[in-house]
């Protein structure tokens, strides 16, 4: 992908095509060439962006202007006025509110570039994380003061419930509801746990929050503890995150010295203290019941549920487990209110999401943007295009437990509901963007290898399924796979998804499923033609594994 000044996108859903989208496209092409702008403006026919009564649509970025009911007659004016002179053709512009279907999410942008909107990362990189005073100057512990002085515990979890915040660890469970469950659970003792065992490959958002703004997590845990009635908390940080552990320890020490942790906080009856538990290297401990087992001094093997941790968690007491990114949203929601939060993002998934951009793109790194941005926008705007002019082939979201997203889904808004409707998963927010040099068999092999090693071994579907899946993929990569192997893969992915005890095995089936549903031709080329189209797989003709 070249770096261009503007991107022009033309919708191509059946309705748009019916109404002459192809003619609009070719006229746009001619007009852009007429003004000699073909080098600086990219023109793309985009995949289905949702039904709209106003199709065909023409979208212009970076201005994020949508033109509706465009005919070939309108094109010269749009090109000359908007693309050449920079003046929006207002009479053809439609507001995102008039649109139905998947494009409605654009309303969140209010007609501007999907700019970064930092809530979770508000202080990261701006304040000294080892100095509590800098956090306090930046509205720190203000939300805590507000809940302790002005709100009841029930009012507190209701604000979170009304804000629509959903868990950012990958599952997307409504946070306020979880708080309500723990609050309503019977027990003389309750715990709040911050899940900072970030081990999802390609994800390092939580590390940045822990390293850059540790007090935000302490404040959020205090608010959560007040809402659910807990007096003790744990931060479970993965053992490899040395700096995060050091910073968190220091922050807890400072908070204790200021009387923000300990007994009778702010002179109220509310008491709360936090311990740190360093992980010892096990991906599975990001699963909340495995994490609890690990704190108790056991192997990190997930429990059978129910009972859920909300009723019987750490030492069988009601326990609230929230991810770092989820918690980092809490103080801002309390300070600004549920309505403020709901206005950001999409109706089904309010707020922002932190993404880590990786892979074959020009700029990798971390962004925080409103929910609902699309992959195409991420690649063009934040990643500054594909590396060395290569072509986008697929993205892998959410580390290993996400989905493999083909280019045809790059215009699907990234929020929990749109993604689940499209049959893919947002996961933890890692976006591994790959070009045509990536082989899907090889990629799936790497993912299965990961699951094979990280499976705790407790349940058979996951322990055996991942091993067999890896062996089959290895054989395909050596050029000795058979069509029967593809059937086996399909069955195995369904069994993994349906029979595994916890989220690890359930998501381990998705790479197998995804490559067969989106890239079957490429997988079949390995089997039938004995060719790896991307020239990545060894294709030695020797079996890597003998499978009986």
């Amino acid at each position: 992908m070249k770096v261009t000044r503007s991107m022009v996108l033309v919708s191509s859903d059946p309705e748009s095509l019916d109404r002459g989208a192809l003619d609009v496209f070719s006229t746009l092409q001619k007009q852009i060439t007429k003004f000699g702008m073909e080098e600086e403006i990219s023109l793309t026919m985009i995949s289905d962006i949702g039904k709209s009564v106003l199709s065909p649509l023409v979208l212009v970025y970076p201005d994020a202007v949508i033109y509706g009911s465009v005919t070939t007659k309108d094109v010269p004016k749009i090109v000359e006025e908007h693309l050449y002179k920079g003046r929006i053709v207002e009479e053809k512009q439609v507001s995102a509110y008039d649109l139905s279907g998947r494009v409605a999410w654009l309303s969140a942008r209010k007609g501007t570039l999907p700019a970064e909107n930092r809530i979770v990362l508000k202080n990261v990189g701006l304040i000294d994380p080892e100095n509590i005073d800098e956090y306090i100057i930046n509205e720190g512990y203000e939300a805590l003061g507000k809940v302790l002085n002005e709100m009841t515990p029930a009012e507190t979890y209701k604000v979170i419930k009304n804000s629509g915040l959903r868990g950012r660890g990958g599952a997307g469970f409504p946070t306020g509801l979880k708080w309500q469950f723990v609050s309503g659970a019977k027990g003389d003792k309750k715990y709040v746990i911050c899940n900072a065992d970030e081990s999802e490959p390609g994800t390092f958002k939580d590390r940045l929050v822990l390293e850059g703004d540790p007090h935000a997590i302490i404040e959020a845990m205090l608010i959560a503890a007040y809402a659910v009635g807990a007096d003790e908390g744990y931060v479970y940080i993965r053992g490899e995150y040395n700096l995060a552990i050091t910073r968190m320890k220091k922050a807890i020490e400072q908070a204790r010295n200021y009387g923000l942790l300990g007994k009778n906080i702010f002179g109220t009856d509310f008491s709360f203290d936090i311990h740190i538990h360093a992980g010892a290297g096990a991906y599975i401990c990001g699963e909340e019941t495995a994490l609890i087992e690990s704190i108790e001094g056991n192997r990190g093997e997930p429990r059978s549920r129910p009972p859920y941790p909300t009723t019987a968690g750490l030492w069988q007491k009601p326990t609230l487990v929230n991810n770092v990114e989820t918690l980092a949203n809490i103080p801002a929601i309390i300070r600004n209110g549920a309505d403020w939060y709901k206005a950001i993002g999409t109706p089904s998934s309010p707020g922002t999401k932190v993404y880590t951009i990786l892979g074959n793109v020009n700029v990798t790194g971390l962004i925080e943007v409103p929910m609902g941005i699309t992959l195409r926008e991420v690649i063009a705007i934040y990643a500054k295009g594909m590396k060395d002019g290569s072509n986008f082939k697929l993205a892998q979201t959410g580390g290993s437990s996400g989905s493999i997203i083909p280019a045809s889904l790059q215009d699907t808004p990234m929020d929990f509901d749109s993604f689940s409707k499209a049959g893919v998963s947002l996961g933890s927010g890692a976006l591994l963007i790959a070009n045509e040099d990536t082989c899907v068999v090889d990629l799936a092999k790497v993912l299965l290898n990961f699951f094979r090693q990280e499976s705790c071994g407790k349940c058979n579907p996951c322990r055996i399924g991942n091993k067999r899946g890896y062996e089959i993929l290895s054989n395909i990569a050596e050029g000795v796979g058979t069509l029967q192997d593809l059937n086996d893969m399909q069955v195995m992915s369904e069994q993994l998804i349906q029979l595994s005890n916890c989220g690890l095995g359930q998501t381990a089936g998705s790479p197998l499923h995804d490559i067969l549903s989106h890239f079957r031709a490429e997988v079949e080329a390995h089997v039938k033609l004995k060719v790896c189209p991307a020239s990545v797989c060894p294709m030695s003709g020797r079996r890597a594994f003998q499978i009986d």
Binding site: G202, G297, T364, L366, L432, C456
Partner: protein, 159 residues
């Protein structure tokens, strides 16, 4: 990371000191194993037996925990431990070729320790520094954006 040949007495004293300091609650087991692993480079049978006695936890349980977690080892390791990230982001960024070069240079396969006890070569899952993949960690030093050509130079930094 140094592997010293310590006598049983020394290990027992160290374990007793740790348990006295941190308590004998089961929740302290993993933190204590971390400490032992950090000091000796691995968790020996002697350490497990003594820990079992001090904490009143069956040694089978301690062994099962020590072998479950990647950061804990029940086998002695080389003077320098190389951890190479084999997760997808590093793989897509060119990790495959770096790994090939690394195994050639060292003459080791995954999980092996060299005869002169200098190197242990391990693979690891994501280390959370994916922005600069491919990534490898030697002892506590992180190397990012590693190319196959850089591998010999990086290895020569270690005695």
């Amino acid at each position: 990371m140094s592997v010293e040949i310590e006598d049983t007495q020394d290990i027992q004293n160290y374990v007793r000191m740790l348990v006295k300091e941190q308590g004998h609650e089961k929740a302290e087991l993993i933190p204590i194993l971390h400490e032992i692993n950090g000091k000796y480079g691995y968790i020996s049978d002697d350490a497990i037996k003594e820990l079992s006695k001090q904490m009143s936890i069956p040694s089978s349980h301690i062994y099962s925990v020590a072998t479950f977690y990647r950061m804990l080892s029940t086998e002695p390791r080389g003077r320098h431990v190389i951890q190479f990230c084999e997760s997808a982001p590093c793989h897509v960024a060119g990790g495959r070729l770096v790994w090939q070069k690394l195994t050639e240079e060292l003459g080791l396969k995954k999980g092996e320790t060299s005869e002169d006890n200098k190197w242990t070569l391990l693979t690891t899952s994501c280390l959370g520094v994916c922005g600069v993949g491919p990534v490898m960690v030697i002892d506590n030093d992180i190397y990012g954006n590693v190319t196959p050509e850089q591998v010999p130079g990086i290895l020569s930094n270690y005695e």
